[in-house]
Symmetry: D2
Subunit: 289 residues, 4 copies
């Protein structure tokens, strides 16, 4: 076999997990922005792969520096900050034709409404921006949102084959750790944060208010409710582990267990993944996750 | 060398991390109790170590069963549940002379005040009970309480040796992830939960309100404030990682950085550990952590 | 807005991380197969999403049962086991049109060549099989293969912009944790295990023997060497974190540091991802990762 | 309540998890030493806790610098390096009366016996040294040594109470992840590494060769075998999770399961902890773990 029939395929490179904390000190009341920023660049990068010629490579160290330097002017909303970074890398580096910037934002709440003291909350806000020199795609999301309904969930009428032993249930615990992403129809938005908070609220409400016959049904209801209420969004993707809670058999101890004592299992777990799309929405291409 | 001069030293055994979720369905408004329970028993256990004679061994599987069976009657406050379990193991098993029960409780908050729907919050409440057949020691606590002050923290006037390069600072970020344990003076308490919530609030308040010249000073202030306000407690132990936030040098980019852009480092980290004790408190012995 | 313009997009569901340990007891010399199996099915699943009608849903619990039941006849090579499972799910369930089965295999080595005693080794072998009722795609791989070259790595001649401060280096530590996947040209193979071990050896050899001007160059060399030596493979994908080792500045202590004392950093890290492809290879479609 | 009856209890502070990689380049054949070093100092530290007066505080940043500076002269065996650091901190800092230095060492093996290329292996070697200005205690150990016997393990004849449902077994899988610590009788040793490797081999051999009636019996056999063969050691402590492997019930599928197909569970797990001691050994005091 000769070299000629082997070639470089898809590739990208960048700096992952740059931990940036920005303190806005304007006035006496500080604001904290706590981020984990990952950048990934693609373009005309054959030379470094094939010969080690790095003339077209913007170092990942420089990408990190850029994150910190851009933060000097303020970070603001993570979607806007990611857009600013992605455009910069593509527009200022001749060899780079696509940038993807992913940001995780950690929640901090004030301790007793104090000006300078904070306690970290649960859940992570995310944004992923992909820019190709012409168009940008913005995907917002949330991770590690752990939810539970203690009733209002059933699972029955499923397909049976010779390996099926699961009993039907008309009342179970439904618990999951939501990873959600929602795609914006345009890369401009007057209110990324309002959009984020409303989308999160609808995810929570739909999870809580859907009488569930399957986690798939709950998934669809969550995505649909977000799209119905947020015209600026065109697609919602959800990855929902089914965190099983098994009713413990207490009969050896001469005790009943009317839906009260559960074993929360780790592995295996169900994993339900799906997308809810607005008809006619443009294809997402490479923008996801 | 002969066998005779080698012997069994300290030992204990048990079932670790039994995941128990209890749903109280009394009335229409469900209450969720989500626990991770670890039991450890000690006593006259030489036979199983030396010869494999298990006649004195209550299986760890039985310990797990006991956790679930006891939950059937209700769990209530974790300190009380741990006491109930610890006393049971020692009082009903002839060979067992000491039981230690550790419980972690995860926080669930209602979604929009609904009756059956919950979202998991940050921070873990803990209880450790040690019972020796006569007396019980109860230690309550909290883990993973992540705190930050964006100002009001200094560090200077420290000892310098030939390896010291740290500049003095009069304004830094102080951030930590609190692991706290507080010991009760007695094993009976009318209100474990009230005690817990008040202790947590004082930890937060003392962290926020102490103008800090060292994380040690903050640690002592946190412990002292809890002891001052909670007569039922006799000792507070704190383990406080100093989660360093380093000011990024933006001067290569001709930018200043007046305390606004930070790199949040992972490792290494400072680790400050200490105990604050009420004078005359009985010794804790084996009861800790 | 009406319902009609919102629809279900891509979706799949399954049982993730079924932990299966198979002991082959034929003869006196036991063989251990230690797996983590994840199944994901896709097909005609609109009903469960839209109405909760589960008639087309093979429960994830059944998928788990199938993994264990199929293991009764022996597991063998993970690529073959994944193929067997994937074909079963699609061929026996009318609504299911695609199955993806991912398996991680943990390494166990004999303790002193004993028959029944084992110690776990480093690195994880992986296989992902996708079957659509007609054709199957098989991707093999390895995770958590942590490598280091202490010399023979340079990085210079890179693109400089106003945010570049990285000095050029002609001798650095190059360290990474390899995640590699390689795609087979056909779903039949007489010797999956031989293919796996040879591919791994070539990854190691190419990492070690490439005088590296960039981690991208090393990545390409690793993929190319595998493809050159393994005709049955058509593509290699690599995800290589650049685990930075920074030379510590010891000059404040009047010490030099000629490439001997390093700080191994956690975050941020470079992340180099790329694919090396045999020309004319069929497109992978959905089969990856 | 007044301040006077509250006081500072036990305390220590230091720098945790300083990641040090040392490359010995003498000759053409490099040697890699990859460490995670944690230092903790105690002494006359009331002032910083009570008033924030840091005059007696050697900064944790200085402790980190010291680790790196001392590595310039070579690291050698981790027990010796920890002793050197512990003695330095106490002997050179007036306020510091006790130092504890913990080191984890990661294993690197040569790739094909090359001079500069390495692959990381499984298992972590540890050392903990405590020095109080007069005497030093040295504890060596190993973490994350994952072991399995596929036969030769029984569990029966145990104590039954009303919550016992576990069937007796005469053939089970016994699997654990060993955390072991062994204490040296003296702080000087001509061959820490030889001692380490021999102790590890005896742990493995005793695990493999003990026909086990309980994990406690295996634990004792492991400790005893180390002490019998290593005169320089006076105590062995072991923490052994019982990583349960449950036989899967395949009878619903009309399959038997003669000890071949297992579910490897995560939680809960048994946890067996114990110490084996040489008679007349001095007490360990604070030196452990």
């Amino acid at each position: 076999m000769t070299d000629q029939d082997i070639r470089l395929g898809d590739n990208q490179y960048g700096k992952a997990e740059t931990r940036l904390v920005r303190v806005d000190r304007g006035g006496d009341r500080h604001v904290v922005t706590d981020l984990n920023v990952s950048t990934a660049l693609a373009g005309d990068l054959s030379a470094t792969h094939l010969t080690g010629d790095n003339a077209g490579v913007l170092p990942t160290d420089t990408q990190k520096n850029t994150v910190y330097a851009f933060a000097r002017d303020g970070v603001g909303e993570i979607e806007a900050f990611a857009l600013r970074l992605a455009r910069h890398f593509v527009d200022s580096t001749p060899t780079i034709h696509r940038a993807r910037v992913k940001i995780e934002q950690y929640r901090w709440e004030r301790i007793g409404d104090r000006d300078h003291s904070f306690v970290r909350g649960a859940g992570t806000r995310t944004a992923t921006v992909t820019y190709d020199g012409t168009a940008a795609t913005v995907v917002s999301g949330v991770d590690d949102l752990v939810l539970m309904n203690t009733t209002g969930s059933e699972f029955h009428g499923f397909h049976n084959d010779e390996y099926t032993t699961l009993p039907e249930t008309h009342d179970r615990i439904l618990a999951t750790a939501v990873s959600a992403r929602w795609r914006h129809g345009a890369a401009e938005n007057a209110d990324w944060t309002g959009s984020h908070h409303t989308a999160c609220r609808h995810l929570l409400d739909a999870f809580a208010d859907t009488h569930s016959l399957s986690l798939q049904q709950t998934l669809y209801a969550m995505g649909e409710q977000v799209l119905r209420h947020r015209d600026e969004l065109v697609e919602v993707r959800l990855s929902l582990p089914n965190k099983h809670h098994f009713l413990v058999d207490l009969s050896p101890f001469e005790l009943d267990n009317p839906g009260e004592v559960f074993f929360a299992a780790d592995r295996p777990y169900g994993l339900i993944e799906g997308s809810v799309v607005r008809d006619g929405a443009p294809d997402a291409g490479l923008a996801w996750w």
